[in-house]
């Protein structure tokens, strides 16, 4: 019981509460002693003449054993207390190592905001990560300060500076004194790094959960796969746009992976799976699916009618455009290669022609969709259920899904390798605890202060109360 209490005192209470109070008390005692000594000397100084005064100072026992001993003991005590007190303050340097940092940007191109290092989200995450007890976000946030290590000025261009290194300081308060300061700053910076990675670094994944293919229509599965492969391709092309020549450890480039995915999409998805479904007209709920396609065709047909009308109206408008009003003026202009050629001013019929072409394309697209759906309807309607075909379709679906997942993994790994290469650790953190030198400095200063106080106290007593 006693050991527990003592243990708690030494490991928690003492460092948390008492050290600060005791350290201040010790300083206060010595300050009071010094003040008393000075006042005493000042009050009694006229009781002696200069010679006596000099005599007192000259004959004082500067190496009095008691003075030195008390000084030594109190210095050791102060050293202990100071050690615990200084441990309450630590700081860390957060360096932004990615290239965009020099433009005051996050790695995703948005504006960098230093205040996020100690934002509520980060502090909350740190509390959660460290399972810190008896502390709120507000209390912990109040102990944290963040500022740029180097800041420029706005006077003229030579003073402009983009800060990429930030210092985070933690000074424990009475609410947070029970926490290990070094752990707190580690948790804050680690939480910030996690937050930063989550929010600002390259992020790509397709549906993590596997869909229930057995409840999906086969053609819907095709659409689903199409969507997923397009997402992978989109990601890869985007990354290739950033750095087309980046080669992964396995020797691939983004374009080479994209090529593989594209080829897979064309062969496995569009040719194998789609043709298997269409040629065999397989569907899970035949009637329902046919109804759906019929409805869809009806709807698309309304769209087609509207596009057809719009197309015809554009043509009619071109027809009724007066010949005299189509006169144009030639202008020198340039082509896509940047070479000059003679162009002409645009008139209404140009615009109408473009519109008519667009509407014509829409009509064609609508008609194709309707035809495709009709084909599917015909095939499905004509189908007689063949278990073998269904089984092979199901197995193909599974195989395609696995392949897509593998491509996804490959794309993600390549992207991650590139990000790691580009980000150079993204956000680097260095923690600075209490240095031995700073502790020694405080101890030496205190020892000098204690010694002067004790000597002056001794000297002050040598002055007679009366002249």
């Amino acid at each position: 019981m006693f050991t527990d209490m003592l243990q708690n005192l030494i490991t928690n209470t003492l460092p948390a509460m008492l050290t600060g109070i005791l350290q201040k008390l010790l300083l206060l005692i010595f300050a009071l002693l010094l003040l008393v000594a000075i006042v005493r000397i000042a009050m009694r100084i006229n009781n002696v003449n200069r010679t006596e005064r000099t005599q007192i100072f000259k004959t004082a026992e500067y190496l009095n054993a008691w003075i030195l001993l008390v000084c030594f003991v109190t210095t050791i005590l102060f050293g202990f207390l100071n050690h615990f007190e200084m441990k309450k303050s630590v700081h860390a340097i957060v360096s932004l190592n990615y290239s965009e940092a020099s433009q005051a940007l996050n790695s995703n191109g948005t504006r960098y905001n230093m205040a996020e290092i100690i934002s509520d989200e980060v502090v909350e995450k740190a509390i959660e990560k460290g399972a810190l007890e008896d502390v709120t976000v507000k209390q912990l946030k109040n102990c944290l300060v963040v500022y740029p290590c180097v800041q420029g000025g706005v006077g003229d261009e030579s003073q402009y500076h983009i800060s990429t290194e930030f210092a985070v300081e933690y000074h424990a308060s009475k609410d947070t004194a029970h926490l290990d300061s070094e752990n707190v700053i580690k948790l804050i910076t680690s939480a910030y790094k996690e937050y930063y990675i989550e929010k600002y670094t390259d992020n790509f994944s397709i549906d993590a959960e596997k869909p229930e293919f057995e409840n999906m229509e086969y053609m819907d599965i095709v659409s689903y796969f199409d969507k997923e492969t397009m997402a992978i391709l989109n990601y890869l092309y985007g990354m290739a746009g950033k750095n087309p020549s980046f080669v992964t450890e396995s020797g691939s480039t983004f374009n080479s992976i994209a090529g593989k995915v594209h080829q897979f999409k064309e062969t496995q998805l569009n040719q194998n799976l789609k043709s298997l479904i269409l040629q065999n007209g397989i569907a899970r709920e035949k009637n329902e699916y046919v109804d759906r396609l019929l409805y869809h065709n009806k709807n698309v047909d309304f769209d087609r009618q509207k596009n057809e009308v719009s197309y015809q109206l554009c043509n009619k408008a071109i027809d009724m455009y007066s010949e005299e009003m189509t006169r144009v003026v030639l202008v020198p202009t340039w082509d896509q290669a940047g070479k000059y050629y003679m162009g002409r001013t645009k008139v209404g019929v140009d615009e109408l022609s473009v519109m008519a072409t667009n509407f014509s394309n829409y009509v064609a697209s609508n008609e194709k969709e309707i035809m495709d759906n009709k084909l599917i309807i015909d095939k499905i309607s004509a189908n007689k259920k063949n278990e073998e075909t269904y089984a092979s379709a199901d197995s193909l679906v599974e195989s395609i899904y696995s392949s897509i997942k593998a491509f996804e993994k490959e794309a993600i790994n390549a992207g991650r390798e590139y990000s790691r290469h580009k980000m150079n650790q993204c956000v680097a953190v260095s923690i600075y605890g209490v240095s031995l030198m700073s502790e020694l400095k405080s101890i030496v200063l205190f020892a000098a202060f204690a010694y002067v106080t004790l000597v002056l106290r001794k000297i002050s007593k040598c002055f007679p109360k009366k002249a």
Partner: protein, 410 residues
Amino acid sequence: MENTKYMEKTEKYQDSIKELFKEIVPEEMYDTWADTFEIECVDEKHVVVTYHGIESIKKFKKQCKRTLISCIYSVLGTGKKIKITKMRSHGKFSAKTKKNIRAARFFVIGMIFVCIATAVIVVLCSYIGNRNFRETFYSTSSIKIDSPIRVIQVSDLHKASYGKNNEDLFERVEALKPDIIICTGDIVNSVKTDAEYAVALGKRLSAIAPSYYIYGNNEVEDIYDFPLNEKAMDKKFGFDKTNRDEMALLKIEDAFEAKLEAAGIKVLKNEKDTIKVKTMTVDVYGVLTSNPSAFWSYSEKAFLDYTQTNPDNLKITAVHEPFIFEEFQHDFWGDLMLAGHTHGGVVRVPVLGPLYTHEGGLFPERDGDFVYGRYDAAGKPLIVSAGLENTSVYRMNNQPELVIIDINKF
């Protein structure tokens, strides 16, 4: 030249001055002071009186100055500048010096006493402080992960207890929400007597997260009746370089392993286990033959199989003793390595570092030994835990620690 002559001449007057001094002052005073000063002439205008008595010069001046000046003026003439100085004493110490020596002796003894008292307090504070453990957080990164993973390392407990039935330890481990827990050996002092302790720990930890147990030297000594080094094992199994079988060691019956696995904690003996953490796949490998002489000869196949297959999996290598990382240069040990055994060097001396390990002797880090903290092993982090043992009184500035490692993308 002239000055020397003058000085010689004036030396003759010294006796005259002392005689005059004898005539003027009372006899008692003359006896006290007559032999305590010498008169030296520097030049025509300056006379120096050198005092070498044991009384203070102030007292001498007060009592004799006026008379002495009169005597000098009478013998050498007026207008001389007279300076009275104290000669450095030779031979015996003065009373004041003796006093100072006494004070210094007292001070030194006092200081020794205070130092001893301080040392006792430090030891006591460390001992009591060690009843509680600290949490040490490490951060590292791996390209292989999608979202952060947290690994907790429990090492070198030596049957220590934090709270009733280690509840304080378990509560903290649970609160820290680990994804994987790895015990890197020496959890008990003896497998024979402390099996229940290990089983209870295994049950509790495995209820929190997937947990692994790697044997330390304390477990190995009880389970196997021979040391796990190459020579002893070759002798035991009758192997030589040509016919070693890695599986021979693993075939030895191990009741302790069965008990632990029944409790839900997986024992890794030169083998890996693959688990799914969130969306990621993690391989955990536990080294049993951590003695450098036996590592390659009795676990090469298993280890290379672990490192070379499924390179996309995150690989965590756990071992009790960190010697293999000191001893061998290898391309890839894993993405994260965990070790214990060293107890952080028992005492950690400020600036100088860990004081002692059984294998490395004094200040082992100076010889490049891995004793405490984070090291580099083939470009990946190796964490050597100071362990959670808390019964040793020698353990100073080295609080028992629970190691928490966060692995992130960058």
